[in-house]
Amino acid sequence: MKKIDIACIIDDDPIFIFGVRKIMDLIDFCKSLMVFRDGEEALHNLKSIISNNEKLPDVILLDLNMPVLDGWQFLDEFIKIPCDKKIVIYIVSSSVDPEDMHRAKSYELVSDYIVKPVTVAKLKEVLNDLEKAV
């Protein structure tokens, strides 16, 4: 079992972050965790990581409904950045709107759509998928 090095959460909800952090600890999801409170902050920091040639996250859990840059806007900007590393992105949202789910599929980078709430079981599944893929 190869553990995930760095995971990244982009979400404006502190409770959610708290919860996910707990679950990740419980199932030993990753070595370290990056947290950004909105799309803008995430984009800004990820850009500088790339330009400084620092270590990028292996997986991003992306919320859709956020202030400043929302999930979609983040995606649209992020795919423009040239990057060698393969980053797996999960959209994690409360929305069950089929339109959102459909739209998520149109991004090559997005590997799945997880409907909140996140549970231990769901994250375990993600972990399994990632390990298989690597």
Partner: protein, 640 residues
């Protein structure tokens, strides 16, 4: 007195010798001055002619003064009078003389024109008597002159007048009539008969009944009313327009004008005279205009100066609720008594030549409804360039007004829909994320504190959180459903769909010991949304399983038939049934449950009904408690 009357009668009869006559005659015989008096007073000259010496003729002084000559200067010779007689009349004189000489029974009585000394003509009635010998040979002749120039002048005047009127009548092609109101005697001219295709001879015997017979019944009534008005003195002239039956079977229009011209001693009308003018062409042109207006696809009406209807369109009658009413010839105010003074003033202004418009007029009708009109009053002009009346054009804009109202309502609805969508968004995102957090935190809490897993409060907390999540997800389903609707309906095989659903519920059906019988006809396609169809089938079948009767062999039976463009899917079971008397009205409502089943969600049928309706179908139900329930789902048949 009595004696006088007798005498008078006697003299009138002339067959009784009166003593006074005898006395007068005797006097004349003895006193010649009496004869002088008589011939001066009665006659305008006498002559006495000697036939043996035809050149000798005695003429009285009056003879010459009548013609402007001095009797003293005129010799008593035939050559004196002959030159002043008109030549043609002189010939007549000789001819008449000859005839009288030959046969005394032929009277010598003629009219002779003399030339007056001043040049004008003097008309003389000349009578003569001949004296003969015992053998009857003419000897002398006595003549008497009466000046009839005055009568002749009047006669000539009359002749000229008659010629003049005759010329006018023929020139204007007028039919004429004379009617004796008292006796009924009637005289028409040729043209009067010709207007209706006859000659006078064909119409014989002519009387006032001839007019009655050929006049068009309805118009006759009207003209009789007008005639009465004239005879009773209400009108100066009797004027009427009437149709008459032409010989060829058609109706022709005449304009009649007449007047009483003589009255009897008691002042009753005696003779009436009048004319007939044919106005069929004019009437036809007018009729064409009238037809044009009648057929106009807008509310329009034409009035004369008295605001009487000349024409009105069907649409007009409909706008003013006058359908089927005879308005022509009636006053607008008589037809619509509710017309207020404000309008009458406007009509008057328009009759003075003004165009008056109003683009929006709110009219409250007697029965309380509101009508919106836009209208225009416009004067129309006769050939003489005078205002002949007005044309009113009205438009019922009530519908347009209502549409405007509807539009504003629609805007409100749109606004509300927008808010509903916002609400849906809040449900979908915010509420859901909060409840998600609850669930997540509870999970974590229990995982971190495993000893509290069976704590009563924590357990209830979990249940409450679960219900909250479920409720939100149901609401979300409902909200999402109404946003998609029927644009993207596609053809679906209902047999495949039922098979798939049955496969999915096999496990729970077996567990509940419910047999599923699928009699759906293969290869029937409906128009729908795949996810909805699956959801509907799942909902109805699981309902049947959930509410099966435990005390008997349970089944669910699915079948289809085609009915008027719909595929009717029937889902019938022999389960617990629903008391429809109590519950029908809320069966398909939100959060209604009818059984104390632990799985009863109370939203399934609400969603099912909405999904069916979103696909253009409907659902009906029949049920009896403890016998079973049958749902019939009408889905649009693709072939239709």
């Amino acid at each position: 007195m009595k004696e006088e009357q007798k005498i008078l009668e006697g003299s009138l009869l002339g067959n009784e010798e009166n003593y006074l006559k005898k006395e007068l005659y005797d006097l004349i015989r003895s006193d010649t001055s009496i004869l002088d008096f008589l011939q001066e007073a009665i006659l305008d000259g006498i002559w006495f002619w000697d036939l043996d010496n035809p050149d000798n003729v005695w003429m009285s002084p009056e003879y010459w003064t009548t013609f402007g000559y001095d009797p003293k200067k005129m010799p008593h010779k035939s050559s004196s009078w002959q030159p002043i007689v008109f030549e043609e009349d002189l010939k007549n004189i000789y001819a008449n003389f000859a005839a009288h000489a030959k046969d005394p029974k032929i009277p010598y009585d003629q009219i002779v024109r003399f030339r007056h000394k001043l040049g004008h003509t003097v008309w003389i009635r000349c009578r003569g008597m001949m004296f003969r010998d015992a053998d009857g040979k003419p000897l002398k002749m006595l003549g008497a002159h009466t000046d009839i120039s005055k009568v002749k002048e009047k006669e000539e005047e009359l002749r000229l007048q008659k010629a003049f009127f005759e010329q006018v009548i023929t020139g204007t092609n007028l039919g004429t009539w004379k009617w004796n109101v008292k006796t009924g005697a009637t005289i028409f001219n040729e043209r009067w008969a010709e207007i209706i295709g006859y000659n006078l001879e064909e119409l014989e015997p002519v009387s006032i009944d001839t007019w009655m017979k050929y006049a068009y019944e309805k118009d006759l009534e009207k003209s009789n009313k007008l005639l009465e008005d004239h005879i009773t003195g209400k009108t100066e002239v009797y004027e009427y327009e009437a149709r008459m039956h032409h010989k060829n079977g058609n109706l022709v229009w005449v304009l009649g004008k007449g007047k009483v011209v003589s009255w009897d001693e008691e002042g009753n009308p005696e003779w009436m005279v009048g004319s007939h003018q044919e106005i069929t062409d004019k009437k036809k042109a007018y009729e064409r205009n009238r037809q044009f207006i009648k057929q106009a696809p807008t509310a329009i009406a034409m009035f004369d100066r008295n605001m009487e209807y000349l024409a009105a369109s069907e649409e007009w009658l409909s706008v003013f609720n006058l359908e089927g009413q005879q308005v022509l010839g009636m006053s607008h105010y008589e037809v619509l008594p509710i017309i207020g003074n404000k309008w009458k003033v406007s009509h008057k202004k328009s009759l003075q030549g003004n165009v008056i418009k109003n683009s929006e007029e709110r009219i409250e009708k007697i029965e309380g409804s509101i009508q919106w009109l836009s209208w225009e009053f416009r004067p129309w002009y006769t050939d003489e360039d005078e205002v002949g009346g007005i044309i009113i054009h009205a438009n019922d804009i009530t519908k347009i007004k209502k549409k405007e109202e509807l539009k504003s309502l629609l805007a409100v609805a749109e606004d509300q829909n927008k808010r509903l969508k916002n609400f849906a968004h809040i449900v979908s995102h915010n509420l859901k994320s909060h409840s998600g957090n609850f669930e997540m935190l509870l999970d974590l809490f229990v995982q971190e504190n495993p000893e509290l897993k069976y704590n009563e409060i924590v357990k209830l907390f979990k249940t409450a959180s679960g219900h909250l999540t479920e409720t939100i997800s149901h609401l979300n389903e409902v909200v999402l459903m109404n946003t998609s609707l029927d644009e993207n309906l596609i053809g679906l095989d209902i047999y495949d769909a039922t098979n798939k659903t049955i496969e999915g519920v096999k496990a729970i059906a077996t567990e509940a010991e419910v047999e599923i019988r699928n009699y759906v006809t293969p290869d029937i396609r409906i128009l729908g949304i795949s996810a909805y169809l699956d959801s509907i089938l799942l909902n109805l079948i699981t309902n049947s399983i959930k509410y099966s009767a435990k005390n008997r062999d349970s089944y669910v039976e699915l079948s289809t038939k085609i009915e008027k463009g719909f595929v009717v899917l029937s889902v019938a079971d022999n389960g617990l049934g629903i008391d429809l008397k109590k519950h029908r009205s809320k069966l398909f409502g939100m959060y209604k449950t009818f059984h104390h089943n632990k799985d009863a969600r109370g939203i399934g049928l609400f969603i099912t009904k909405n999904q069916i309706e979103a696909m253009g179908g409907k659902i009906t139900v029949k049920s009896e408690v403890n016998l079973g329930t049958t749902f019939k789902v009408y889905l649009r048949y693709e072939k239709n």
